[in-house]
């Protein structure tokens, strides 16, 4: 058993990190000092997950979201996709292993991966709407969000969702509020089988090694850790029985990377981009006041189209 995180003390404690501990801030620079803290990570062991959805329930409860009651669309995934009110989702895949001819029911908890090199943050044109804390957590600051949807387009995992109610982007926060006071995320606390564990990134890698050894002893010779280098590694990692085929887990990307257009935009085009961003932000405010809906300039829209290559439907 991975040592459980003790309950918090009754007396209030000061948070372990806050908005003074940022290492990245969208469309802006980080005020000094930006010293790195110990990196944290959540490890999702797909081989131990029983798909009970306690993580989803805990996520709704802790974040006090209000997901509507939907319909059955012929699968166990409920709701059918991530939404602005459902930050994490069990995705169930039925896979017939061609080597053994056995059916495997692969259940992957989908949600924000908290990339070390976050595409959402890089794509975000609104200053300070997306931040990365010194421990690696990537968080959305809704007061600064203009709802343009670039984060969706910049995300290699298709995670953020834009609310039709307040026109802001939502995703898993890795329970940054809980982690700040020494707790693990709500999903980890609720998980009955320790398929979700939380700690420092090093601890998680070590624990993953232990698990991978067990899986290999059971014949899963390609068991491994999913910590994709294309995004600098992630602060949410998976143990997969078939790490050589991440795509069988409900299309987990094999080599996720940030679109080169985002990199270009934030590199060479930075100053141009910032100018556009300023206009966009102003336009968004005006639009918001007038129309109640968030819009960005036609140029941004065009840029975004290029970036997305139709990947977000």
């Amino acid at each position: 058993m991975f040592p459980p995180i003790p309950n918090p003390p009754v007396a209030p404690t000061s948070p372990g990190f806050s908005d003074k501990d940022l290492i990245r801030r969208s469309a802006s620079s980080v005020p000094a000092p930006a010293t790195r803290q110990t990196e944290v990570a959540k490890l999702i062991d797909v081989s131990k997950c029983i798909g009970c959805k306690a993580c989803q329930a805990a996520c709704i409860e802790w974040n006090d979201t209000h997901q509507a009651i939907g319909v059955n669309v012929g699968v166990y995934d409920n709701p059918a996709d991530l939404t602005p009110e459902m930050f994490t989702l069990m995705r169930f895949s039925e896979w017939e292993n061609p080597q053994t001819n056995n059916l495997e029911w692969l259940i992957r908890k989908d949600g924000c991966m908290h990339c070390e090199d976050p595409g959402c943050l890089k794509a975000c044109p609104a200053p300070g709407a997306i931040v990365q804390y010194a421990n690696g957590i990537v968080d959305f600051v809704h007061d600064n969000c203009i709802g343009c949807g670039y984060c969706v387009k910049g995300c290699p995992f298709d995670i953020p969702r834009i609310s039709k109610v307040d026109h802001k982007a939502y995703k898993c926060t890795l329970c940054s509020d809980r982690v700040a006071v020494g707790q693990g995320p709500a999903c980890q606390k609720a998980c009955p089988t320790q398929a979700i564990v939380f700690g420092t990134k090093d601890e998680m890698k070590e624990w993953a090694d232990f698990r991978i050894k067990d899986l290999k002893s059971r014949g899963f010779e390609n068991a491994g850790l999913y910590d994709p280098p294309g995004v600098g590694g992630t602060h949410v990692m998976y143990v997969l029985h078939h790490a050589d085929k991440p795509e069988i887990y409900a299309n987990l990307p094999r080599n996720p990377t940030i679109s080169p257009l985002v990199e270009l935009w934030k590199g060479v085009g930075k100053y141009v981009g910032l100018g556009v961003m300023g206009l966009a932000a102003a336009a968004a405010v005006v639009h918001h006041l007038v129309a109640g809906a968030n819009r960005v300039s036609p140029e941004d829209e065009a840029n975004a189209e290029k970036l997305t290559e139709g990947r977000h439907s």
């Binding site: 029983i50 009970c52 997901q67 012929g74 009955p192």
Partner: protein, 813 residues
């Protein structure tokens, strides 16, 4: 459970069959993941569906629902043929060597003594041969033609892998792979645990499903050891407590039973409950029955229970039928013979079979009282909800009274978990509105009835008027008062026989354990197996010390485990005939030459010499039973019987329909689909989903989000055959009713080949109704047949027949 949840982490092999622990017991399932992660334990799942447990299993084998006994007898046969038997255990700790009476036979699915008219057996020959010494005769070589071992060997010989495949649809190679893994646990240093639940109980032969696995576990030497056992995963947090305190209609607390009307007085009742040992030196602990019964009667009627009046034995109800189970209750309502129904914490309109019959029964009641923390379908049975409850409200004259109760999170008290732990809990919230604890409601009913009897008299007022009611506030007995009463207390001083100046027991004190109970009225005890839970030392159920010396998984000072804080039942069997642990690395108890020592409270007298006294002290033989004598209505050995609604005839006994001694009411028989009916060609089964708890959580928004809408599961093959699209509508109907559902089309259900015939499986989750936050839907019991297990009447929810077609859905949706 013979063992505890926490003990599962000690196992080498988990067999989940007749249950779906990951789905229905996700929190307890953590101990399976612990065993796998830390001991390298393997997990086998045998189920009609590739379910959530199968998703994390090392091996999965499909089985057609209702054929578990054939599979398990096949495993026993495999072990016997391949010398995969823990011989020392079998020879000394089971009745393998006992001789069965002459005249006992089995042929074509039936044992000696069958009466087709009565659907019952004369069980006279299902007994041991009694020798001239008055004890059961044994042959220690096991070779005697009438030894239990010889008879069992003959009985299981037909259950070859080929026959198993023919009956169960389990491919031969998959069955053999399971058999190989299971049989390895015959080693004294390897153990297997059986985790089962309603997948075994909800059959017309549910008790025998479980018994067959218990026999296999005895043969493998896995009962009484760490990481072994027969582990019933209870479906409600306190359903273990329900049976413990005797809420079944034929039970008394602590697994004593109610008298029948052929037992008019205490002497007649006790005459068949002597429990004389059947072998020399055996404990036969039920010899103390009279102490437990008299102490129970004293707790019921206090000073009014005296030796002169048989301690109030006459005031106990006497049964005129084997039991008044819920199926019988609804049959009696339908016949107009039961006219009032007090329904406490129970939603039978969803939870019992054949909804149409249930509605008919409830509609004929004069009075229905529902005590529940939630709105239930039962309380609203008279409301018209369109296709979901299409009743003629104006025609129903039943008076319905709803009494809102507190829920567990608003109460104080103890719940008994599957592992027999009585865990105290404290209120976490304040009850809303007019909600009252069940204890308040029951007390108020009692006090008002008592007053009515006092003022108006009645046919038989004594049991009510004399009921012992010593609570500080008679209108609201406290959880502490009630549990202290269940623990038991001393009514009158008992002098020490060695020194009459001293008191052995002092009046007014709590009893320390059930060993102190007496049959002379000097002790009172509401439930003898709970003795020790609330003693002079305090409330043992409230203990929360999670220390676990040497990491055995026992946690001896966490809550209280009945009986006597024992964590593993039959634990003396963890050591060999000389008292040495079979597996030193999993030591539980050891004989040190003087007494039993170790990690658990010995399930034997602490000074009982190992070679003299057998480990199964509740049995008069002192050993575990491979042959059940006359204790089971449907046979001393299990037999494969098909469900009453079966897609194929019983290949081993084609003339036998269902379980030959299961009780079936005449009208219900007419509502069964024929065997292999072309009208109802598909084999259906019903089950729970992780996202919901029975019919409660559909009242909760979050749970409703996670599984919003009623669906059925079918294979891709059946979907193709019937033109059903994933997520499309289907209509499913049985001989009793029809439902509309969304279709989950899945690879996890595959057609099976049984006796040469392709059988399609239809899976039906149970959680929807016309009350709650989730979308309105149909409960599975619209479809299910009204028949129960032959021994305990648990309904056959797991195997029945339906038909299915693609549909455009209900018109009103």
């Amino acid at each position: 459970m013979t063992n505890s949840w926490t003990d599962i982490r000690n196992t080498d092999l988990v067999v989940i069959m007749g249950g779906n622990a990951a789905e229905a017991h996700p929190c307890g399932f953590k101990w399976v993941t612990e065993a796998k992660a830390n001991r390298g334990a393997k997990l086998i799942v045998v189920d009609p569906r590739f379910n959530r447990s199968a998703s994390v299993a090392d091996f999965y084998a499909p089985i057609r629902q209702g054929t578990d006994i054939a599979f398990l007898l096949g495993l026993i046969n495999y072990c016997m043929l391949n010398d995969k038997v823990q011989w020392d255990y079998v020879k000394t700790f089971t009745n393998a060597s006992f001789l069965v009476k002459e005249g006992f036979t089995y042929r074509d699915g039936l044992f000696t003594g069958y009466d087709e008219q009565k659907r019952d057996y004369d069980r006279a020959t299902w007994e041991y041969e009694i020798g001239p010494d008055g004890y059961a005769a044994v042959d220690e070589t096991l070779q005697h033609p009438r030894s239990v071992w010889t008879l069992l060997k003959q009985h299981v010989a037909m259950y070859t892998p080929e026959l198993v495949e023919r009956i169960c649809g389990t491919p031969r190679d998959k069955f053999l792979a399971v058999a190989q893994m299971v049989s390895e646990c015959s080693s004294p240093t390897k153990t297997m645990t059986s985790m089962y639940a309603l997948g075994w109980t909800q059959h017309s032969k549910g008790s025998q499903n479980i018994r067959t696995m218990a026999m296999l576990q005895l043969i493998l030497g896995n009962i009484g050891v760490r990481g072994g056992g027969m582990n019933a995963l209870r479906g409600h947090s306190n359903i273990q407590g329900l049976t413990d305190v005797g809420l079944l209609s034929n039970s008394l607390p602590g697994y004593m039973n109610l008298a029948t009307d052929r037992e008019p007085d205490l002497a007649a009742y006790m005459s068949t409950r002597g429990f004389r040992p059947l072998r020399p030196n055996q404990t036969s602990y039920w010899q103390n029955y009279r102490k437990f019964l008299v102490s129970f009667l004293k707790s019921m009627w206090g000073p009014a229970a005296t030796a002169q009046n048989d301690f109030g034995f006459d005031w106990l109800p006497k049964l005129d039928v084997p039991n008044y189970d819920i199926l019988r209750a609804f049959e009696l309502m339908k016949q107009g013979k039961m006219t009032a129904y007090l329904c406490q914490g129970f939603n039978p309109l969803q939870a019992f079979p054949n909804k149409a019959k249930l509605v008919e029964g409830l509609s004929k009641l004069k009075l229905l009282v529902v005590m529940d923390p939630l709105e239930t379908e039962t309380a609203r049975f008279w409301e018209n909800h369109g296709i979901y409850n299409d009743v003629d409200t104006a025609a129903i004259q039943t008076e319905v009274i709803q009494l809102p109760t507190t829920c567990f999170a608003e109460d104080e008290g103890a719940l008994v978990n599957s592992g027999r732990w009585l865990q105290w809990h404290w209120p976490g919230g304040t009850p809303p509105g007019e909600a009252q604890p069940d204890t308040w409601i029951m007390a108020q009913i009692h006090l008002r009835l008592k007053a009515l009897y006092r003022t108006e008299g009645g046919a038989f007022p004594d049991p009510i008027l004399n009921l012992h009611w010593p609570y500080k506030d008679p209108g609201l007995p406290t959880p502490e008062e009630l549990t202290k009463e269940m623990n038991g207390y001393i009514v009158a001083d008992v002098p020490d026989p060695a020194d009459p100046a001293k008191k052995l027991l002092e009046a007014g004190k709590q009893v320390a354990n059930f060993g102190q109970l007496r049959d002379d009225g000097s002790t009172a005890c509401g439930c003898w197996i709970f003795a020790g839970s609330f003693t002079e030392a305090g409330n043992m159920m409230a203990r929360r010390d999670n220390a676990d010396p040497d990491d055995t998984g026992a946690y001896p000072n966490w809550s209280f485990s009945w009986p006597a804080n024992r964590r593993i039942l039959y634990n003396r069997a963890s050591a060999d005939i000389n008292g040495k642990p079979w597996d030193p690395s999993r030591k539980l108890l050891e004989w040190d030459g003087q007494r039993w020592t170790g990690y658990d409270v010995p399930d034997i007298a602490p000074n009982a010499k190992p070679r003299d006294v057998g480990p199964f002290i509740m049995n008069a033989e002192g050993v575990g039973r491979l042959f059940a004598r006359g204790m089971m209505r449907d046979g001393p050995f299990p037999v494969h019987y098909e469900p009453f609604e079966s897609p194929v005839a019983n290949v081993i006994a084609p003339k036998v329909r269902g379980n030959p001694v299961a009780r079936v009411f005449a009208d219900d028989f007419a509502q069964f689909a024929d065997v292999a009916s072309p009208e109802f060609p598909y084999a259906a089964t019903s089950y729970r989903l992780t996202e919901h708890f029975h019919y409660w959580t559909k009242n909760n928004h979050v749970n409703a989000v996670l599984q919003p809408e009623f669906f059925v599961e079918i294979s891709e093959e059946l979907a193709k055959e019937k033109g059903v699209a994933k997520g499309g509508w289907v209509r499913v109907w049985s001989k009793r009713g029809s439902v509309f559902a969304k279709a989950v089309v899945t690879k996890r259900i595959k057609p099976m080949i049984c006796d040469g015939k392709t059988i399609h499986i239809v899976g039906i989750p149970i959680h929807w109704g016309f009350v709650g936050a989730a979308k309105k839907g149909f409960p599975a019991n619209v479809l299910t047949p009204f028949v129960g297990d032959a021994n305990i009447e648990t309904p056959e929810f797991k195997a029945f027949l339906v038909n299915l077609e693609a549909s455009t859905g209900p018109a009103s949706v």
